[in-house]
Amino acid sequence: MIVLQGLTKRFDGLTAVDHLSLEVKAGEVMALLGPNGAGKTTTVRMLSAMLRPTAGRARVAGYDTVREPREVRRRVGVLTEAPGLYLRMTGREYLTFFGEVRGVESSRLQQRIDALAERFKMREALARRLGTYSKGMRQKIALIRTLLHEPPVLLLDEPTSAMDPESARLVRDAIHSLRDGHRAVLICTHNLPEAEELADRIAIIGKGRILAQGSPAALKERYLGPPPLRLQVAGRINPALLARLDAFGEVLDYGRRWVRFRKAEGVRNADVLRALLRDGWEVDMLVEEQQSLESLYLRVVQGATTLEVAS
């Protein structure tokens, strides 16, 4: 649904996007992560046919962004970084304007506005001028604008920024529900837990280039290794226990009654547990630690190593 091949954008000698290649299939949600100035917004603008690439090409919903920009814009819903509303209009007037510009049939348009407003708990606010809305409400109206024409491709730049936790939850749920077999969603965000929750795959970009791409689990495995185990025992940790665990892998850290260690390849948890019990240790807990996307992100961005990881 979204295909980028060597997409490049240069502004006055500055390369904002540098040979970006990725694909988002129908039914997939992809998160584009990266520090400020990494080229996320420029990529979204090229995908919505607002900017022309300097090199490379992009196809969105089957149309070339340079040769068929209008067809692309018809099929894309873009949530821009700033809501960019007309503050003297009411919510309904604003959405009606964009619905009409998008060519939504007038008989369906008001129903669609009402349904989306209901979904985002904005029904009451529709009659008010947009200038009176809070930041979060403005973001929600912008999101409704993006969804009005039921586009097959959604490009969402920071969809929950400026929202309170409840509204952000609403929006995340909505994005979850937008996931269907016909729609591709590309989200640009700094919110890593959100990306992890919503995205099937993530792409981390830095200085306009893809640094890592794949499913969150695969990327974590690749960059952070297998998740460490945390062992908690009834007695005090002693050198004999540490030596026993070293035989199964590598001890990372330990306290009075706990040890963090990473298993060697091929070692099963059951093998570790059985050995400890045989040595007479009373095991309170043996769990795999969750590895955060933040660790992965920092590792990739700081390391800035380009690696393609198959999802």
Binding site: F11, R45, S48, M50, L51, R52, R70, R73, R74, V76, V78, T80, A82, P83, G84, L85, Y86, L87, R88, M89, E93, F97, F98, E100, V101, R102, G103, A142, R145
Partner: protein, 490 residues
Amino acid sequence: MKRGRHLEAGRAAWRETWRGIALIVRREIVDTLRDWRIVAPITTLVLAFPFIAEFVAAEGLKFFNKYGAALIMERFFPFLILVVGFFPSTFSLVIALETFVGEKERRSLEPLLATPLTDGQLYVGKLIAATLPPVVASYVGMLFYILLLGLKLHWWPSLHLLAVAFVLATTQALVMVAVAVIISAQSTSVRAANLLASFIIIPMSLVLQWEAGLLLFADFTALWLIALFLFVATLLFVRIGLRMFDREYLLGRELDFLDFGAFGRAFLEGLRWPGSLRALYGEEIPALLRVLRAELTVTLVVIGGGLLIALWGFWRFPLPRTAVPLLSQPMTMEQITQGAVDIPLLPPLSPLTLFTRNAGAVLLGAFLSIFTLGIVFQLMVMGVTAVVGYALLLTLHWGMPAAVPAMLAPHGPFEMTAIIIATAQSLRLGLILLSPAHKGGGFLGLGRELGHFVKLFAALIAPLLLIAAIIEATITPRLAIWVINGYLFR
């Protein structure tokens, strides 16, 4: 059958285009009418200014009546119609200047640019939306003033005057909007757009002064010509604006810096010596002239306009030969060179004075063009063409057809060529600031074009003017005197 289908498809596309434009127009107008910063002053002007104008008219009439010169004041009534109409229409400038750049500053432009609306729909929609409210306000103000004049002073304008006043108010607003929208689409901030707006105000104030003068003479034909000129200028500016409109440029550019070092380098690049005279005249100058094709065409059209004005002037005021005392006695060359023949505004006929006068006029015109979108030099050329054309028509009228080539042919080709090239390059100087930097315009573009101007001036314009001045001081007067004396005193 196939043709019918094509026609139907064409009609559908046309309807679709105008549907998009209408949506933009409706939204923008609603937005304008909800902005008290625009509505309050427009309403005040529309309601208060007609009263002030009517008061001025009534008091003026009383004053002039004392001296039995009421007719003079009555000639001011139509002028005040134009003034009353002009002030609300200036708001079109305010609205138009902030159309694109204002939206960009409020960050509402990007969602609009992400829609399937075409560049043309966005551009024309915003153009119409910026024009309509002020023009309607202008109509209301003028009607209000006319009503007050009619009811209080029992003076009603003719239908012809009404028509010309309304058309002028419309075309003035249109031309201002057309330029302002270009400025808005090329500026990085509303403040920068407002600063550039002075480029519109100066030529518009000149036009208004012309209109005032013509209204005092009750000369409607000339006013219609001005309206036509403004309309053609509007079409030209809309075309320029559409060609330069660029979504990417609107989104991409954040700040403009005045880099004087780069400006100097661009100027020197424009002025660069190509290595030899052969390269200069064989390649560089022809290349510069080829680039000037569009500007040269506009200049020729303006000269055509000047000739039309000459024709109209001759039609209105066909002076008899006896009205020119100069032609009552045989002329001698000594009379002219020693300044015995006093012709106002004309310099003594020496090559140096003629050259410095003409070169100075060219340099002044070019300088003023930078601040007036190149319009001032065009107007200067139009004015001079009108005067010269009028004089030539008179000589034909007086039965002296050979006097025309005698007065012009020796030096005319050199002088006219120089002036046309200078005017065209000055138009380029004026318009280059409106062009986007990435298309070779903006501040650096101005530096480069100034370099080109200096090069053209030094290599072509000044030599041509010098040759023209030498011929004009030596050959032309002798030939003219010989021919004219031959007609008058044979």
